[in-house]
């Protein structure tokens, strides 16, 4: 990887774009700006960015429309930036192909962390065989899980669930996504399965299962597996 990653920022608010540019360039990333949905789509096609930051409150198209059109031609990770806090909107966007979701106001350091996660997925996900984070180590080829130095025996469902988390590590995964990945499309309403197995995983993996730090609950939306730094 010789060229620095390119981040496309689609937002109509100039000061926000400027501040984001300053922070991102400080991380040695290349920044492309677009001030509305159409120019954002053009930029996404022309510049082939590695991560797209998409504000959903755009003047011409809705963020949701932009997301759907982006997904027609690219799998580039999209991080949604939104002022809307309701869970319904979050779930809808995440289930429609958004990789992550950030609420305004946000801190730039949090934003950078999310971008890093996204970048890792877009560049290295396919080649990763060992996942490590916060005392957790998973050898994907050997199906070996170690937590805080102890080897952990997981049932096959628990392991499937953990794999689903690992696949989207660092990102918010909705209940629906998890249920579909692990139990299949017929079980997307069986939320209690998920609850039970998340609790079981936590008991086996977390240092303190009552205050989980690995598998974090995103209330009303889903879960997130803390990613390594």
């Amino acid at each position: 990887m010789t060229t620095p990653p390119t981040i496309l920022v689609i937002d109509d608010e100039a000061p926000l774009r400027r501040l984001v540019r300053i922070s991102l360039e400080a991380h040695a990333w290349q920044v492309v700006e677009a001030e509305d949905g159409r120019s954002g789509l053009v930029a996404a096609a022309m510049e082939r960015p590695d991560v797209i930051l998409l504000d959903i409150g755009l003047p011409d198209l809705t963020g949701f429309e932009v997301l759907l059109r982006l997904r027609e031609f690219t799998a580039t990770p999209v991080i949604i930036i939104s002022a809307r806090g309701d869970e319904e909107a979050k779930i809808k966007l995440l289930d429609s192909g958004a990789d992550d979701y950030m609420m305004k106001p946000f801190s730039t350091s949090e934003l950078c962390a999310r971008i890093r996660v996204a970048l890792r997925h877009s560049t290295t996900a396919a080649t990763t065989t060992v996942y490590e984070a916060d005392g957790l180590r998973i050898d994907l080829t050997a199906r070996d899980v170690t937590a805080h130095g102890r080897s952990v025996a997981l049932t096959s469902t628990e392991y499937q669930l953990l794999l689903a988390f690992v696949k989207h590590a660092g990102k918010t995964i909705t209940h629906t996504q998890l249920l579909r990945d692990v139990w299949g499309p017929g079980s997307i309403n069986e939320l209690q399965y998920l609850r039970v197995f998340v609790n079981q995983l936590r008991k086996k993996l977390e240092a303190d299962p009552s205050t989980p730090s690995l598998i974090v609950t995103v209330p009303g939306v889903g879960y997130r597996l803390t990613s390594s730094h």
Binding site: P105, H175, V196, V198, T211, T217, P219
Partner: protein, 883 residues
């Protein structure tokens, strides 16, 4: 008339005397409907009378139109010569005012007040001459036709088709001290015309064909009569007020017209209306249902009369009473009536010895005036029918049957008990029958038994001869007893029936009133009304309410039938015109339903639509319906008023709230903004040299302010979401323990220790995770804020049979008991509140928990702090799911 009311003649005399002593002359107008009624003639007669009384009378000007009778009357009266005026070659004679003024009589006759003077005269109009004379202290007799009165000229022109050129202002007419109406029925006038007493034969024929048509004359006559009546009335009242007599015109006159089924009652109603309009008083029409059955024609007429009365603006009162007089007087007393108007009864010869209803009414009316009005129209038969035909036939049959049975028994036993005993038995039977039957059957029974007793028993038997006077007396006695007992029974029955009617009516209305009195919402009132009306009247009822926009809504769901489009248009009409319409009324009567407006104090609340199976409706029934609808209107009025009061209360409170919001929000938004602003301007200021430490501190403050600002915005958004009713909880399985963990993480952020007491095997709860988490965060944030840093906040979760309970308890200062009940109110800040809260956190928590069908309450534990108890009676997973 009450004794304190002065006699009008007396009054006029006093006016005349007063005028005589004053400097101004009096004006007397001889007023007629048209030429030829005899105004001039009457005026001249009056002048002779005055002359005989020693008054100095002169004739200023009198037009006799060549009528000989009139001309003869001029004899003996001094005449002031007319002035001769030449105008364009024509010689005219005019009233010579100067001559009269110099002659200075006490009274001058000036004919034709409306006359236009010849050009060049002093005044253009003769009435101006007259006014001058009056000013000079000379009294004037003059004549005037109604068509010359300014205000009536148009109307007359319209009626007759002749434009009126010469008019006299009404003020002159009003100023007249006396108006004498020369009234002549149209027919008499036409007769006079034909006889040539008014015009010459040729002119008369022309006049008859044009102006003097009977219809014209009648209309003019009515106009003249009315004007005169009004004039007297105005005079009387102005005199009374000028002399401060507090006499006859009581301040609140109320006229009551008693009506019955006679066709002439309509006339009576119209008469009363005129009287009421003239004296500007309230009036009502009363009908007393004696309980005696009426034949259908009468029932219908009564209804027509009551409708007419309503149409003419009368208040309609009906009552049930066996005695008409008592019924009228009851209403009169209840309604503070001062005058009662009744039709003058046409005496029948047989009733000469009998006191009429009017006589009784006058006797018993006490301080109330009773007016009788003579009514035209065919005399009405007393239309009292005892009973419906069927029952009557049964009555006749059974009466005759009893008589025949006794006679049959008598035939067998006559040789043992004697024929006179049989007479007595028959007499006894008559009395017994009297207890059950009315006059008719009894009379028949009496006649038959008299005949049979005579024919079969009185010797010589099988003849109608009576030899002994006792037997003859017996027969007379039969008839008397039958009549007397029959009449008594009938009266008793009537009374009983009217009592019963009144009783049922009172009972029905009472039940409606009772069920309406306690109700609290519009909807309940409507439902109750529909139910009560339907059961009370045995009919189908639909009720329309007025929408807030003032139009009629769709029929209320509780309606017992679905009105058709036609019914709806009837209801609409009734609503718009605020009058009843549809079946049994004059408007849209072909409709299948009857609509009554619910007339409230300020507005028509709606319309009630009735669907009757009956072919006709009795006055009694109608009055019952009206009373019930009035009750409903009252109930709705009450609700409207209560609602209005509540609205204004809400408005007041929302006003208060707006002020609080503005204060609170502006403080909460501005404070962090001020910090941010200060931080940024400090950093931007190049003249200030900050150490790295200082910079870090400023940045930290700015960050904290941002968080605070963001929380305020979150709270406001959540509150708005709640207020707009936009909270739709999802139902999904939630892990409450997990939620509490994440809420603690957000709320406490590791600054305050939170102790959790959560059962190991807590079932999942079916709730909205997002809402529950936000509520928990808010409650926890509150607890953390008030807890001292070293004392833990306790969170206890319990799975109870009815639901899940979450208790958050802090060790802070708590609140005062007064604050406790307001803790969950928007923008409420307890007296112990710390700086920096929005006053929304707990309100939002309450809103969200209630959206989840849960409850939240605050308590003050014995050992200090504050305890928030959340209870969620929601489904829980029965057993944990395992692989």
């Amino acid at each position: 008339m009450t004794p304190d009311r002065p006699d009008p003649d007396q009054l006029l005399r006093s006016i005349q005397e007063a005028a005589k002593s004053g400097s101004r002359g009096t004006l007397k107008i001889f007023f007629g409907m048209c030429a030829g009624v005899g105004k001039t003639y009457t005026m001249l007669e009056a002048a002779h009378d005055a002359q005989r009384q020693g008054i100095d009378v002169v004739v200023g000007l009198v037009e006799t139109h060549g009528r000989q009778e009139t001309e003869r009357l001029l004899d003996g009266l001094p005449v002031v010569p007319r002035k001769v005026v030449e105008h364009r070659g024509t010689v005219l004679t005019e009233f010579d005012i100067d001559a009269v003024l110099s002659r200075a009589p006490q009274l001058v006759l000036v004919d034709e007040l409306a006359h236009t003077n010849a050009p060049g005269s002093r005044h253009g109009k003769r009435f101006l001459d007259v006014l001058e004379l009056l000013d000079r202290g000379i009294s004037v007799y003059t004549t005037l036709n109604v068509q010359h009165l300014e205000s009536r000229a148009d109307a007359v022109a319209q009626i007759t088709g002749f434009p009126i050129q010469e008019t006299v202002p009404d003020s002159v007419f009003d100023a007249a001290t006396e108006i004498e109406l020369i009234d002549l029925p149209a027919d008499s006038l036409l007769k006079r015309l034909h006889e040539g007493k008014v015009y010459t034969a040729a002119a008369a024929q022309r006049a008859i064909n044009n102006f003097f048509r009977k219809g014209n004359l009648t209309a003019l006559r009515e106009m003249a009569l009315r004007l005169t009546a009004e004039h007297v009335d105005v005079q009387l009242r102005s005199y009374m007020s000028s002399e401060h007599i507090a006499g006859p015109w009581r301040s609140n006159e109320r006229i009551l017209v008693a009506i019955g089924p006679a066709p002439s009652s309509a006339q009576l109603i119209r008469w009363a209306r005129r009287m009421a309009a003239m004296s500007n008083t309230e009036w009502m029409v009363a009908y007393v249902d004696t309980g005696a059955g009426h034949i259908q024609v009468d029932e219908d007429r009564i209804r027509e009369h009551l409708d007419l009365a309503r149409e003419l603006g009368a208040e309609v009162q009906t009552t049930a009473s066996a005695s008409i007089v008592q019924g009228i007087l009851d209403i009169a007393q209840r309604e503070n009536v001062t005058q009662i108007i009744v039709g003058k009864p046409k005496r029948r010869t047989w009733s000469l010895w009998r006191r009429t209803l009017v006589d009784v009414l006058i006797d018993r009316s006490g301080p109330i005036d009773v007016h009788t009005v003579r009514l035209d129209g065919p005399p009405t038969r007393r239309t009292m029918q005892t009973d419906p035909v069927q029952e009557n036939a049964r009555g006749y049959l059974s009466a005759v049957g009893v008589v025949l049975a006794i006679v049959a028994i008598g035939l067998v036993s006559v040789q043992f008990i004697g024929y006179q005993s049989i007479g007595l038995i028959l007499m006894g039977a008559m009395v017994v029958l009297g207890m059950f039957h009315d006059r008719g059957p009894l009379l028949l029974a009496a006649i038959i038994s008299a005949f049979l007793w005579n024919f079969l028993f009185i010797p010589p038997r099988f003849t109608l001869f009576i030899t002994r006077p006792e037997d003859a007396m017996m027969i007379v006695l039969y008839l008397t007893v039958a009549l007397v007992t029959g009449t008594l029974t009938m009266r008793l029955r009537q009374r009983e029936r009217s009592m019963r009617t009144r009783e049922t009516r009172t009972a029905l209305l009472f039940s409606v009133a009772k069920s309406l009195s306690e109700r609290s919402t519009m909807d309940v009132i409507v439902r109750t009304s529909v139910r009560e009306l339907a059961s009370m009247l045995q009919c189908e009822v639909a009720m329309y309410l007025r929408s807030p926009k003032g139009i009629l809504e769709e029929p209320h769901p509780s309606s017992t039938f679905t009105p058709t489009a036609k019914d709806r248009s009837v209801a609409m009409w009734s609503f718009i015109n605020n009058r009843m319409a549809g079946k049994f009324t004059d408007t849209l009567s072909s409709s299948a339903t009857m609509s009554l407006p619910i007339t409230g104090v300020n507005a028509t609340h709606g319309v009630i639509c009735f669907q009757f199976n009956d072919v006709r409706m009795s006055a009694e029934q109608q009055s019952l319906i009206e009373s019930a609808v009035r009750l409903i209107a009252l109930a709705l009025d009450r609700e409207v008023l209560v609602a209005q009061a509540a609205t204004s209360e809400v408005a007041r409170r929302s006003d208060e709230l707006r002020t609080i919001i503005l204060n609170s929000v502006s403080h909460e938004l501005r404070t962090p903004l001020a910090v941010l602003n200060a931080a940024i301007s400090t950093l931007r200021d190049e003249s200030i040299h900050l150490t790295a430490e200082q910079q870090k501190k400023i940045m930290h403050d700015a960050g904290a302010s941002t968080e605070r600002l963001s929380r305020v915005v979150d709270h406001l958004l959540n509150m708005t979401r709640l207020e707009s009713g936009n909270v739709r909880p999802l139902r999904q399985w939630c892990d409450v323990a997990d939620l509490i963990n994440s809420a603690i993480h957000i709320a406490a952020g590791g600054e305050v220790i939170v102790h959790k007491h959560i059962p190991a095997s807590l079932p999942f709860l079916q709730a909205d995770e997002g809402l529950l988490e936000q509520a928990l965060v808010n409650v926890l944030e509150n607890a953390v804020r008030y807890s001292p840093p070293d004392v833990p906040v306790n969170v206890t979760v319990a799975d109870l049979p009815e639901g899940m309970s979450i208790i958050v308890r802090d060790s802070g200062p708590g609140v005062s008991p007064d604050d406790l009940e307001h803790l969950f109110e928007k923008f409420y800040r307890a007296s112990t509140a710390k700086e920096g809260g929005t006053g929304l956190g707990l309100a939002i928590a309450k809103g969200f928990i209630e959206a989840l069908n849960g409850t939240i309450e605050a308590r003050l534990p014995q050992d200090g702090g504050l305890e928030i108890r959340i209870f969620l009676p929601l489904p829980r997973s029965t057993q944990p799911f395992t692989e």
